[in-house]
Amino acid sequence: MLHVSPPLAKTGIAKGEVLLDVENVSLRFGGVKAISDVSFDIRKGEVRAIIGPNGAGKTSMLNCINGFYFPQEGHITYKGMKRTRVRPHEAASSGIARTFQNVALFKGMTTLDNIMTGRTLKMNVGLFWQLLRFGPAMREEIEHRRKVEDIVDFLEIQAIRKIPVGKLPYGLQKRVELGRALAMEPELLLLDEPMAGMNLEEKEDMCRFILDVNQTFGTTIALIEHDMGVVMDLSDRVVVLEYGRKIADGTPEVVKADQKVIDAYLGVAH
């Protein structure tokens, strides 16, 4: 008989050193406290899930990490550098990529072009050569196109390469968005509800891609997700937020058994 074992299931043991450390972060909009005094860390190479009921502050948390919001208190340490006010493009060039809850693609552009925009930060040739579309600019574009094609191949979207993304079904748009984030070759990938609004088959595909990204490229992933099955299968560790507070943190098994979590989230139909 053939003895080949598929890779072990997630063991829940966190992997490398701390990549991103969130310390006592609080975020207010006027008098509304979106996040209060939340601390957790994300380690290199892990899949970290952030879960919680609606309005728990999950997306706000991601927005703090990649610089859309500046927390009033606390700080975020990324790759050993403590930062308080980091802007989105700085976060991007330091290796943080993200996808959005509502797809944020250029609807009129093709799949290829959309993914190519993810390469913008990696383009070095000056405007002069780019206008000439010759010499170094050509060489660079070919190199970038090769990277983009690798991603197209990886995400199995060859058939929609030249279709404007606005014409694509939602599930595929989500995949293109992931492709664009991957084009940045990020170290930390933030996924905001990558599976929202998908049918079962699309969800399964997406799960496979996320795991493959994590395993093949060693990309660290932080994701927000509502589907409990997905969270439990995918993630190494889970942090649970409720009303802007952290109520639990640990492996999926630990979190699943936590009474506070059950009360706040799992026990409530939604």
Binding site: M1, L2, H3, V4, S5, P6, P7, R145, R146, E149, D150, V152, D153, F154, E156, Q158, A159, R161, E201, E204, R208, L211, D212, Q215, T216
Partner: protein, 659 residues
């Protein structure tokens, strides 16, 4: 080529070597990878396959072993077959979309010890059935994504196997000699491949084909259609199907033409356009889908374009086929057709990827006469053939100039056909004829007559005068109504299926008072109609049950009844009652075979309450059925299905009284 050398070309590895020698620098394979067409010459392929064969040998594959091939049409999987054959092992291609249970049965029955698979999906599928396939020891794969963390003791990338073989070949001349000896040691009587039939009737059977006979058959048809090494095909048909193995693999090696592999199954249509094959095969439903798509897109075109399209399609309808058949056509019509070609036909064929086609075949099901002549009128040489796995494809084929929509043509070269007295069953003897079913002497004996003819299981007759064969239906399916009138279900089903709105039909009537049918609507065509008419629907089920959809389908049924009434033999078999099924018939649920043929008996049992409702006069019936998803999980679909009556027409009076 010297005559003597040709005589010894009795195995595929020898043909591969010949191709590398006589047309080494010609392109043998293409594959679109990372958006770019990669190509390999015959000399390169021969080199790769040699190295691959040695690599497989050092993994333990030996003469007589069986190696499963699971995946889509990719060069490395074709080379896996060639490499296995080079060292005398037997490839067993398997339908890659088969569910685990079917896969396990075939792999175990074929006693495979090796498997060459496409990717992680197939590796996982095979791993999930290892307990039922105890002989399977080693797997090689083409595409490594997601497989990095798997235990690689018995799992190897094909790339590495080839590299290993190459280094062994470069090390010692005894390895080279041993491999050459293996190629020379191959014999025409050797088992070349086992193709599992799709199982229209029960479990799949392993059809054993010998190398010599396969090549003899392919040589005949290559000559019949003047196929040369200048031709090119796009390989998109399932590897496990005789059509792909014959038309692409066998004919490709015999004629030395280039086989292009699409980037993925989803891009096949776009790749077809880029490659522009010269030889093409597709089952009727592919041509039908293409035409439906063209018509739908024309609906959305501008007024001028629409007018131009319809005008020149009418011109083509009137003159196109005549021009293609070389008949006398007035000069004015020729000019008009020429202009139409410039404005409509050529761009249309280009959009479909049919610009360079010299010969195209369709087979497997009856093709609608309208559909058939549509493509022919555009100047595309579309022909019909009739064949089966046991014959290694061709039994009959239409020669150029004798093309008809309602026949499958005269016997192919060197094929001998006989119609059995009484049953009307078609029997044949052909050059490519199979050796027998693998490990099933009983079935083999049932299929062969005492004097060596093979039973097709199809009923048919030779048309007087032309010698063309006409197939009516499966021999066992032709039956009688209670009144004793003839009931040929396929004949009725096909009539209905010629309507674009209807995808699948199952007719009942054996031993009953009248004929009734299940209908599956075509989601593309009916969905488009719904969109244009602001009909809102949430699911297939809802659309299928829509009263207006019932109205449309009733119209089609009436037209068919009117046509049946005009044929004295069939008038009694008019459709009296029909219903539209709430779900699409699906191969995963066992309702269709893997080649998309309806398994009528199974459908009848599965939907017994609906069949009952067709005959007890009720206006609706409840049904709940279990469905299988692609990953093997099961769910239940239930519905209340309406049954409608169809208009009946008086039978035509015997000839002579027609108005």
């Amino acid at each position: 080529m010297a005559q003597a050398a040709t005589a010894t070309l009795d195995t595929f590895p020898k043909l591969l070597r010949r191709n590398a020698e006589v047309r080494g620098s010609k392109t043998a394979f293409r594959h679109k990878d990372l958006g770019i067409w990669q190509s390999w010459t015959w000399a390169e392929v021969y080199g790769h396959v040699r190295a691959y064969a040695v690599g497989l040998q050092s993994l333990g594959l030996k003469r007589g072993d069986k190696i499963a091939i699971v995946g889509a049409n990719r060069p490395k999987l074709y080379w896996s077959m060639m490499a296995a054959q080079m060292i005398g092992a037997v490839p067993v291609p398997v339908y890659s979309d088969a569910i685990a249970d079917e896969l396990a049965y075939v792999l175990d029955h074929a006693e495979v010890s090796f498997a060459a698979v496409q990717d992680q999906e197939q590796v996982d599928k095979l791993l999930s059935v290892t307990e039922r396939v105890p002989r399977l020891k080693t797997m090689v794969y083409d595409w490594g994504r997601g497989l990095r963390d798997y235990d690689h003791t018995h799992l190897h990338p094909i790339e590495a196997v080839i590299a290993q073989g190459r280094s062994r070949l470069s090390e010692g001349s005894d390895v080279v000699k041993a491999l050459d000896a293996e190629i020379d040691g191959g014999h025409g009587d050797d088992l070349s491949i086992i193709l599992y039939t799709s199982g229209t009737t029960g479990r799949s059977k392993g059809v054993m084909l010998s190398a010599g006979r396969s090549i003899a058959a392919a040589t005949d048809t290559v000559r019949f259609d003047n196929i040369t090494d200048a031709d090119e095909v796009l390989a998109y048909l399932p590897l496990a199907w005789v059509g792909d193995h014959y038309l692409n693999f066998a004919q490709g090696l015999v004629a030395g033409f280039c086989t292009a592999c699409p980037e993925s199954a989803d891009t096949a249509q776009a790749d077809l356009k880029e490659i522009g094959p010269t030889f093409y095969f597709a089952p009727p439903r592919v041509f039908e889908n293409l035409l439906t798509r063209v018509m739908i897109r024309m609906e959305d075109a501008s007024g001028l374009k629409k007018k131009m399209f319809h005008h020149y399609i009418a011109v083509a309808k009137q003159w196109g086929e005549k021009i293609l058949n070389g008949q006398d056509v007035p000069l004015g019509a020729r000019l008009s057709y020429g202009l139409g070609n410039l404005l409509v036909y050529a761009p249309l064929k280009n959009a479909l990827g049919f610009s360079k086609i010299r010969t195209a075949y369709t087979a497997g099901e009856a093709i609608g006469p309208e559909l058939f002549s549509f493509y022919r009128s555009l100047g595309m040489n579309l022909k019909q053939l009739y064949g089966q796995t046991e014959a290694f494809l061709y039994v009959t084929a239409q020669p150029d100039g004798q093309i008809r929509a309602d026949t499958v043509g005269p016997a192919s070269p060197n094929v001998d056909i006989r119609i059995e007295e009484g049953t009307g069953e078609v029997l044949y003897k052909s050059p490519g004829q199979f050796i027998g079913y693998y490990k099933d002497a009983e079935k083999t004996a049932e299929t062969m007559t005492a004097d060596g003819y093979v039973r097709t299981g199809d009923a048919g007759f030779f048309e007087a005068g032309t010698g063309h064969l006409k197939i009516i239906d499966r021999a066992k399916d032709v039956s009688k109504l209670r009144s004793g009138d003839l009931f040929a279900p396929k004949y009725i089903e096909n009539r209905l299926k010629f309507y674009p709105n209807i995808k699948e039909v199952v007719a009942f009537g054996q031993g009953e008072d009248y004929v009734s049918v299940f209908i599956n609507i075509d989601l593309t065509a009916v969905g488009n109609w719904a969109e244009r008419n602001n009909v809102v629907y949430g699911s297939y089920q809802e659309l299928a049950g829509h009263p207006d959809v019932y109205g449309i389908i009733a119209g089609h049924v009436d037209e068919v009844n009117r046509a049946l009434a005009a044929e004295p033999m069939m008038a009694a078999a008019q459709i009296k009652r029909f219903l539209i099924l709430h779900k699409e018939l699906d191969a995963d649920d066992g309702e269709l075979t893997r080649t998309q043929k309806v398994r009528r008996g199974f459908v009848g049992e599965r939907y017994a309450p609906l069949v009952k409702a067709l005959y007890d006069g009720s206006a609706e019936a409840d049904i709940s059925t279990e469905v299988t998803f692609e990953d093997g999980r099961k769910g239940v679909i239930s519905a209340r299905v309406k049954v409608k009556d169809a208009a009946q027409f008086p039978a035509a009076e015997p000839a002579g009284k027609a108005a």
